[in-house]
Assembly symmetry: C2
Homo-oligomer: 328 residues x 2
């Protein structure tokens, strides 16, 4: 096995975010589940966008956010995901490429637009997401790059890929290839309602080849249908070699077999929690790829999450500040 | 003369901003004048965008920013400006419409895209702007709406309209119609280098029918080719009935004939000064339309400017907070 060219290869739904402020009444009026990601079709997306306050556009997508931030920290990163050949697709490609991420996936040309996620941020900093998958439904096995999978130390996949069927097939194929190549497979559970839609499949994946798991409290509790975080954590300990479980302002817990590392959250002003989990995974994976200890990986995750929630959008425009003893 | 339907009718270049962080070395390498607005063509825009770090997109355009913020404060506002029928044009239309601004201008369908302004923000909060005018060059006299001009108390125009020739013709025509209808004409000088390009014409306008002037220190000094602000201010006092002259952290000065009102800046954390002047004009004009005193108009301008520079982008996503005694 040769030394891999990339530290991380991410695969995910390639999405442009539209972020706006709203109040709880707006969420209720449009029947939104606060804090969740809901899939909507083109008609519903147009209707909701018409009703939304003025917004800001920026590149998003859970794993794409992680890849962009990890590359900013110095990790060698590649990404696969489908945008359309349109202005928002160009924005997505520009942003991930100029973040330093290798992004070889071709754009879709059949007229279906780039995916967008309409995000309503409430005054408590919570984000409520409504995703129109657009071109993402066209991502499939033919978009996989075998050499790239073989040549990346960690394959990082998002649970959201289970929503579009062709992407789910690509997810399974990529994971199998990475395992065969002796690479690590990491999974983010994405969203508690996404876990609800694919619970059995995700549990099979965890016991059948996933090496690293990223999940927040709601997701891991949904996965194992547990009432307490402590209980869900013990299930994860049995199922997967390494898990990083995040708990918002309560920090995170890293578990590896019998080892348990509680990690404090980094103090932050909370403007918009969009991308907090993605940023945590970025810090963690960049640290892991650089051979840091697990507590150090967790601390990097906390720092990246804090930098992300201090402003609107999932990827900080301002470079993430690391102390001298933490920088790469 | 009937009571007008709108407080403010703005006309300007309709632009989507792309905001990214950069350092002074990046500005030097790309031969940019720090703090200025430079016009670039499609080829230069593509080249610069390729080189720019990841960014955030949001609706911009100087007068459009003013209109959106003024409407948020409760003023009745309309806007004329040209976008293309593309995704960024839809973003612009969505944002200004959902800010509460009446925006009747039809979109351009000839394939020229919506204008964009590539904005590099340095760590001192200064913004350096590079504008590709795109569809804005198609805005002309046929886009004017006579009834709308007659029906708006204040016509607010930007100096930037002098750059595309057809828009300049529309500017002159609109100003003449507003005067005939007994409405007020307000002008923003936009940018010191824009003043350089059109100095004689702007000086003619000020003595020949502009009722209110908005300018910052660099712009007013460039207009009158003065070495000191005090000197330039006295020229303006002779030329125009009312002027609001802004001086960044030194606040602003309002002059009306022999009256002079110095206004303090509102304390703010400075992240990105993009749109500070536009926001000041929004507060001032909204106050003026509501019959506030000139110092109160200036204070509203300061509050709006402070809210705008605290985050990236020209229009705050967060509602601007006014004290009970200042709210409309």
């Amino acid at each position: 096995m040769t030394s891999p060219r990339f530290d991380i290869l991410g695969i995910g739904n390639a999405i442009v975010d539209v972020v706006a402020r709203a109040d709880d009444a707006f969420l209720s009026k449009h029947n939104m589940r606060k804090g969740a990601m809901t899939l909507i079709d083109a008609v519903a997306a147009e209707k909701l966008y018409s009703a939304m306050p003025p917004g800001q556009e920026s590149s998003g997508g859970s794993v794409a956010n992680t890849c962009a931030i990890a590359a900013g920290l110095g990790a060698r990163v590649a990404y696969l995901g489908k945008v359309a050949e349109d202005q928002l697709g160009e924005v997505f490609r520009h942003d991930i490429t100029n973040a330093g991420v290798h992004f070889p996936t071709s754009a879709l040309k059949d007229g279906v637009p780039t995916a967008r996620c309409l995000i309503l941020v409430t005054s408590d900093g919570q984000r409520t997401m409504n995703t129109y998958l657009g071109a993402c439904v066209a991502f499939g096995i033919s978009d996989l790059d075998d050499a790239l999978i073989n040549d990346s130390a960690i394959l990082y996949l998002e649970g959201y890929l289970f929503d579009p069927p062709a992407a789910q097939a690509a997810f399974r194929r990529a994971a199998a290839m990475a395992r065969q190549a002796g690479r690590r497979v990491a999974l983010s559970l994405s969203d508690a309602f996404c876990v609800d839609r694919h619970r059995a499949a995700f549990r099979d994946l965890l016991t059948g080849g996933v090496d690293m798991l990223f999940a927040n409290e709601a997701e891991i509790s949904s996965l194992y249908e547990c009432n307490t975080f402590a209980e869900a954590m013990e299930h994860a300990r049995w199922d997967v070699p390494l898990a990083a479980l995040t708990r918002s302002e309560a920090g995170s817990v890293i578990i590896k077999g019998s080892e348990t590392y509680p990690i404090a959250a980094e103090p932050a002003r909370v403007v918009d929690t969009t991308g907090a989990g993605d940023a945590y995974a970025a810090g963690f994976l960049a640290g892991f790829a650089a051979g840091r200890s697990l507590p150090s990986c967790g601390r990097l995750g906390s720092l990246c999450a804090a930098a992300t929630i201090a402003d609107y959008g999932a990827r900080p425009l301002q470079p993430i500040q690391l102390d001298a003893d933490e920088s790469f």
